[in-house]
Structure formats: C-alpha cells, structure tokens
C-alpha cells in the first residue's frame, strides 16, 4: 500500500450483478485475447469461434462427445473443489484417477464374477478407495509432519503413472494384447451402459451429475461440509472452536481422492473398457482448472467441466477445417482461467487508483 498508485479495497457488499457479471466479462476478455492469437495464425476469429461452437455443440454427435469428455472432468473438478474448499491443495488428481482405474481392472476383469447390480457398486467403492488412499498418504504427511502437500501430491502423480506402467508391462498386462501395454477388458457386468444407443456417452455422466449434487448437499447442509469450510477459511479458529482440524482434513482427503478415483472407474468401465497409459490426457490437472473456473462450487463444476470439454472438443473439430492448431484450446482454457481468477478477485475487492 505504501507509495503504490494502485490498490485493492475490500467490497463491503457484493451485488448479484457483480457476482454474475464479472465472470461473463472475464470470458469475453479471454475470447478477445484468443481472437488476437487466431488472427496471428491468419484465420478469421469469428469463423474459428463459429467452427468451435459448431464442433462442440452444433450436432447431436458433437454435443454428446462434449458431455463424454466432460464426465471425467466433473469428477476431477469435484475432487479439486472439495479439497480446495478445505485448503487441502490436492494436485494429485491424476494419480488418484489412475489408482481408481487400477482398482477397477484388478477387480473388474473377472476376479469378482458378480452380477452388475452388485459388481458396479463394489467397483465404484474400490475405485474410490484407491483414489482415497492415494491422497491420504500426502495428507497424513502434511498433518503429521508438516510436509507440503502441493509437492507430495504433485510428485505422486509421476510415481503413480510409472507404477501403472510397471503393472501394464507386468501383472496386469493383457496376454491377448499383442504385446501392447494394456490391461484386459473389464467384464460385461462391470461396464457402465451407454446413455444413447450407439454413441460414446455413458452412464458415468449421470453418476458424475449425482456426485455433484451430493457434494453440493454435503457442502451446504452437513456438519462435514461446515467443518471443511471452517478449516479452509481459518484453521486456527476452527481448532479453537473444537473442530478436529486434522480429522477433517483426513475426511476431506478421502472424499476428494475418492471422487478422482471415480473418474478412473468411469473412464475404464464407461468408455475405454481397459486400462492403458493414455487413459487420462491430464484430466487430473484439468480438474483443478475446472474447479477454479467454478469458484469451487459443486454445481458450477458441472458447468465449468462442460465448458472446458466443449473448448477442447470444439478446437479439435475446428483445427481439422480451419487449419488453426488445436493448441488454441489450451490457450483458451488458460486465458479463461486467468481472467476468471481475476474476476473472482474483483468481485471481492475493488480496484482503486489514488
């Protein structure tokens, strides 16, 4: 504040117009920025955006593809949102997703010959446990020894992926896989049905929506949601009031890791059928972006996940016709995130020039 011409003053009240208006302005600014980049690559921004919208939402096929892509992002977005609410910086969604996927193929490829109404819940619980354990280790290190979870969860991603690679070259390798590092397919009873006959969108999307709804209820209504918010906002005050901070963080880790684990289950059992090393093109990391775009709101995560998925799907389609590299999708998502984070700050503070 000293000698600085620009400063931030907290807003006393946040009007609804500000809360809803600023994020829209943020997206517009991001679009304008991307339009400049598109012009640099020699294309017309309007036609590129038009192609993207058409490619993401224009046809039934495109729209279903967007929702398919959004499904794992809803799970990993919820995982990040839940953890970030409690200021547990879970960057390890990727590892937790793969842990869930590994659990799915371990129990879902014939080990448990159960009918689907039993097997699917069992596999979901197993996948959640896998993800939960994956996050519980860094959380324990954090609460017990004060190890920074940003570092541990991030590094565990690499360990997890290398571990999966080892499994796919070893015990989980499909003997019929012609030497490819891939697991066996999950059995029919383990698979999630398609929502639309002959399309890729699967029942995992519905589970993701239900999960978002459940997290919303937990967040708003339950004692656990209250505890997680209190611990996130002010752990010292929470501890003073008698909220067991470490236990709440442990529960948060179970919930967050479990959600990311479900992403792994949903991708294997709903879409791919087996586990490969390219199961996730960074869904764990993108989930963080989704959660931030949604301002950590569980229902907002659904919208943000669909938005991000639409950008990626749309950019793929656009690049095939317009000749603009589909990398523009990454730029768009990143620009949207930066603008959104700024907008969120500006809903809390107002900029003052003196």
């Amino acid at each position: 504040m000293v000698g600085n011409p620009m400063r931030l003053e907290p807003r006393e009240q946040r009007s609804l117009a500000v809360i809803l208006g600023y994020p829209l302005v943020a997206l517009a600014v991001a679009a304008a920025f991307c339009a400049i980049l598109v012009m640099f690559s020699g294309a017309n921004p309007l036609s590129v955006f038009g192609l993207m919208v058409k490619g993401a939402l224009g046809t039934q096929f495109a729209f279903l593809e967007t929702l398919t892509r959004a499904t794992p992002l809803i799970f990993t977005g919820l995982a990040a949102a839940v953890a970030f609410r409690a200021k547990l910086w879970n960057i390890g969604g990727e590892a937790q997703l793969y842990a869930g996927a590994v659990m799915t193929v371990v129990f879902g490829t014939g080990l448990l010959p159960l009918p689907w109404p039993v097997l699917i819940p069992v596999l979901m619980v197993a996948a959640m446990l896998g993800g939960a354990i994956m996050l519980s280790i860094p959380t324990f290190l954090k609460t017990r020894f004060g190890v920074d979870e940003v570092v541990t969860t991030l590094l565990i991603n690499f360990i997890a992926i290398l571990f999966v690679s080892m499994l796919l070259e070893g015990v989980l390798k499909d003997p019929m896989g012609l030497g490819w590092p891939q697991s066996k397919k999950v059995i029919a009873d383990a698979q999630l049905g398609k929502l639309v006959q002959g399309k890729r969108l699967h029942f995992g999307f519905v589970i993701a929506l239900l999960a978002a709804l459940a997290i919303w209820v937990i967040d708003r209504r339950s004692a656990l949601g209250y505890e997680m918010r209190a611990v996130g906002h002010n752990p010292k005050a929470a501890a003073f009031a008698g909220i067991p901070v470490n236990r709440v963080l442990a529960k948060t880790a179970l919930l967050s890791g479990g959600l990311a684990g479900l992403a792994g289950y949903s991708e294997v059992a709903g879409l791919k059928g087996n586990l490969t090393l390219d199961l996730s093109p960074g869904f764990g990391y993108t989930g963080i972006v989704v959660a931030m775009l949604a301002m950590l709101h569980p229902l907002g995560v659904v919208a943000a996940a669909i938005f991000v998925a639409a950008v990626f799907v749309g950019a793929d389609a656009m690049s095939r016709t317009a000749g603009v590299p589909s990398y523009i999708a990454h730029v768009m998502v990143a620009a949207s995130l930066l603008c959104m984070v700024t907008a969120v700050m500006l809903t809390r503070y107002r900029l003052r020039w003196r």
Binding site: V2, E9, E12, R221, S222, A237, A238, A241, R354
Partner: protein, 516 residues
C-alpha cells in the same frame, strides 16, 4: 525549554485541514493541529477515531484528500515517507520494526547507508549511537543482538533509530502497550528530557492517565474530528474521557460478594510450546470471583489461556474441573463442561471472517442436538440462534447472513460473548477481552464479565491493561516467564508492587523483564 514557555516557541509542524475518506467513511475530517518546538502533544482518541490515519498521512503512508502539512514552514510533499524522514519526522510504531537477528547498531544504521558502498562507516556510526544514547539517557549496548533485548530496550532502539536519522519530530504510537508501569514512568522521564532539548513529540494513546502524565497539551480526536485541544494543566481524566467518548461513562462496579467453591483447580502444571512455557503453575478459580492475571505480554499468558481452552495438554500436573480430573482436555470437552472461552485474537481464533454470523455462532455447538441431526446441520435453528444473539447482545450487523469480516471489533466481541455465554457457563476465560475495543464496547464486555460473576461463574481475566484488571478483579496474580506469583487480594494490591512483580521481582529466576 520547559513546558511553561513551550507555548511561545516556534511552530515546527502544522497540519492544516486534513481530510481523508475511505469510501463512505471519513477517517479524518478537517483536522488541524500544530506542534511547537519542545512540546509534547498527546493525541487521544478511541480506536477508530482516526489517530493512526492522521499519523499515516503525516508520515506519507496515505495521501490526504484535502489539507496540507508544513514542517518548519516548508510544505511536506504528500505520500512520500522518504520526504517525511528527510524533514526530520521519526516514527516509533506500536509493533516494533526491528530485525531480531541483527545487532542494535545494524538495526539503527539499516537503510541509512548507501547500498553499493563496500565498507560502511561502522565505527563512526557506533560512536554517534553511543553519543546519542548518552545524551538522551537511552542506555543500550550497540553490539547487542536485538533478540536478546527486553521490550523496553527494544523501544529504546526504535527511538535511537529515529534520533540517529536526526528526527526533530518524534511520533510514538501507543508506546506503553508493552511496558510495565515502571518502564512507562521511565519512558515519560525520557520524553520530558527530549522536549527540554528541543525535540517535539506526538504521543498517541487511548490511556488517559498516561497522556496526563507525559504531555504538555492534549488533542482529542473523535469520529475523525478534532473535538478538543487544551493544555494538560487543569484537565482531568473525567473531562478527557467524556471528550473522547462523547458522553459520560459510568465504569461498571463489582458488588462485593462471597466467593463460592473452587470450580477449576490447576496444580503443578508444566507445559511448553515454542518459546512459551509454564512452570509448576497452580491456581484455583472460585465461583463468583474474578481472578486477574497481570503480566508483560509474552510471559505465558496465551499458553495458560490455551491450556484452559483445551488446546494444550499439560506435560505434568493436573487440571481438576468440578471435582473431576481432566485427563486429556479438548476444546469440545471444555465447552461441554461449561467453560466460556473468549480468545485473545478475535480475528485469528475467535471467528471465521469469511463465514456468516449464523455459521460463526454455532461453531462450538454445531454437533449438539440443538443444531444438528444425523450429521446434518439445522441452519434454520442456527439462524434463530444468531438472531437471538444479535438482539440480546445488541450486535450491529446487517443480519445473520452477513460475513463476520464486515463487523467492527466491538460487534465481533459481542458475537463471541453471545456464543460463549449462551449455556450459562461455570467458568469464563477472558483473554485480553477488550483489546482494541472502543470505550463503549469495553464497558459492555466488562458488564458481561461482572454479570457472569454475579451468576456465580468463576472468571479468569488475563489482561495487559492494569486499569481493567484492577477494576474488575477480586484477586490478582502476576505471571512472569511462565511462573505465577502468589494470588493477592485486590485490596492489598499496589500498582508499584504489581509493576515490580511484572518485571520479575520475587520470582525464582527473577531479574529484568524479558518478553518472548
């Protein structure tokens, strides 16, 4: 120069028509103030009266919306701390700005040396510091490390720092907050000496007695306006208090009443956390009685409070509550047993600023059947509880949905009082309960504590404000380096004796006062 002829000396500092607005709030409203050579002016006002804003404008941290500042007749450029320093204005902040791991000399010359010169003129600087210390009676060893100094010595270093930079106007912001009564008296002597040598001093305080003891003239700020300016000679505490608050205030009185049985007994407690420790500490809290704990900040008060709050488990010794030994106390257990806990820091420990009033009032009780069923919180009941507290405790806020961060300190404290007093507590632990509150809120908190005493609760009052301690307590004990003095009845306490004990006299490892 003595205070008699200070009235005629030349004007060194003139603040004219200073106005500063923060949004709708007018922090300073057309404030004009002059300071003459060799004069000590007390700037008196409640928290939020605008004292700090005014001084921040003077020192260049803020820019005034209207008004001007002149030093020795020359206008001072706005918004430049560097210009203020160059003009000879020195500021000693309430919270010291010293680097603990450097020596006194390093701290003093820090920032005065050109960055790129290889050899600093340390010897010359040291001689000058010695000379200043000698001349002004501020004995400090220039080679001592700051972390080894007592609070009083650190304050001397801060003052030396300003003098080293040739300050001719010295601003002291609440300088006695961290001192024992004896140290305060000695500081006042030093200030008088400064004034005699031609320095001009602005002494910021909300303590009436100090202003009367230390200053020549007093300026009273209220609600951003300068409401009075008069010589100290002839002014009384009552006048000043009324000017400061804007109405007459009747201090709450504790009616004598017999003490009840011991409710909480600590015996032979030892505990440690970081640099803070408690050693073989024993005390008993009786119903219907206020026990005051005096001490210089950092001598184990917060550890003692955390112990009774259930946040710290003693290494040795026992805590007996209502005849039952507490094996491993927890905050929840203490709350359930009827301990009302008013924390030292409302913002850091008492409340979650980004959560609503409703969410904050149930933070200790959200798991009780009154507010939750099967793990789900009944927010309707929480809202009703919040409304009741808002009404009963006169909390000024937009409503139960308002974020607590927006409340004033006094209203935050009322909210905490409402939360902890709801279940008719048997013990009230009040740790610095009025720190940073305005006089009205202070009176309210005091009334609530005395009301709890009247209902038969045992009150443990930990406070650095001796006036508060002595006006409320039935018995007083002093804490020093984690040890507790014998408990003295209020009637037998003298300020001088209390001050000596706060400085460590009568304790096992007694000596001069050190604060962690």
């Amino acid at each position: 120069m003595s205070r008699e002829n200070a009235g005629e000396a030349e004007i060194v500092l003139r603040l004219a028509g200073i106005t500063k607005r923060f949004g709708p709030l007018v922090a300073n409203d057309n404030v004009s103030l002059t300071l003459r050579r060799g004069e000590i002016v007390g700037l008196l006002g409640e928290n939020g009266a605008g004292k700090t804003t005014l001084m921040n404008i003077l020192f260049g941290h803020y820019v005034a919306d209207e008004g001007s500042i002149e030093v020795d007749g020359t206008p001072l450029p706005a918004g430049s701390p560097g210009a203020a320093l160059a003009a000879g204005i020195g500021m000693v902040h309430q919270h010291f700005t010293l680097a603990d791991n450097l020596t006194v000399l390093d701290n003093i010359i820090l920032g005065t040396e050109p960055l790129l010169r290889l050899s600093s003129r340390r010897n010359a600087a040291k001689a000058r510091v010695r000379e200043l210390a000698e001349a002004f009676g501020l004995a400090v060893d220039p080679d001592a490390t700051v972390s080894a100094l007592s609070v009083g010595e650190r304050q001397r270093v801060e003052i030396l720092k300003a003098l080293y930079r040739e300050a001719r106007v010295l601003i002291l912001d609440e300088p006695t907050a961290v001192l024992t009564p004896q140290e305060s008296t000695s500081l006042f002597e030093t200030l008088k000496k400064f004034a005699d040598r031609g320095l001009s001093i602005i002494f910021i305080s909300h303590k009436l007695g100090e202003v009367l003891a230390a200053c020549h003239r007093v300026a009273v700020l209220r609600g951003g306006k300068l409401v009075a300016e008069r010589p100290v000679a002839g002014a009384t505490r009552a006048d000043l208090a009324e000017l400061m608050v804007g109405r007459t205030i009747a201090p709450p009185k504790a009616e004598p009443q017999p003490a009840g049985p011991a409710i909480l007994e600590l015996s032979g407690i030892a505990a440690r956390r970081g640099a803070q420790k408690l050693e073989s500490l024993s005390l008993a809290l009786h119903g219907g009685e206020v026990l005051g704990i005096a001490g210089v900040s950092g001598n184990g008060q917060s550890l003692l409070a955390d112990l009774i709050s259930g946040l710290v488990t003693p290494a040795t010794g026992t805590m007996t509550l209502k005849g039952k030994v507490l094996a491993s106390p927890s905050p929840r257990q203490m709350v359930a047993q009827g301990v009302a806990r008013i924390p030292e820091d409302r913002h850091a420990e008492g409340l979650v600023g980004d959560m609503s009033v409703s969410e904050n009032v149930v933070s200790e009780a959200y798991l009780t059947p009154a507010f939750s069923h099967h793990g789900f919180i009944d927010w309707k009941k929480a809202r009703e509880f919040a409304l009741k507290i808002i009404k009963d405790y006169d909390v000024k806020c937009p409503g139960p949905e308002a974020r607590v961060r927006l409340l004033s300190g006094g209203n935050m404290q009322k909210l905490i009082l409402g939360r902890v007093m709801a279940n008719d507590p048997v013990i009230v632990l009040a740790n610095q309960p009025t720190r940073g509150l305005d006089v009205g809120a202070v009176t309210y908190v005091h009334e609530q504590l005395l009301a709890a005493r009247k209902r038969g609760a045992a009150v443990l009052l930990i406070s650095e404000d001796l006036d508060e301690l002595l006006s409320l307590s039935d018995k007083v004990a002093v804490i020093y380096r984690g040890q507790l003095s014998p408990v003295i009845r209020r009637a037998d306490v003298t300020i001088a004796d209390l001050g000596l004990r706060m400085a460590g006299q009568g304790f096992e490892h007694g000596g001069e006062s050190h604060a962690a």
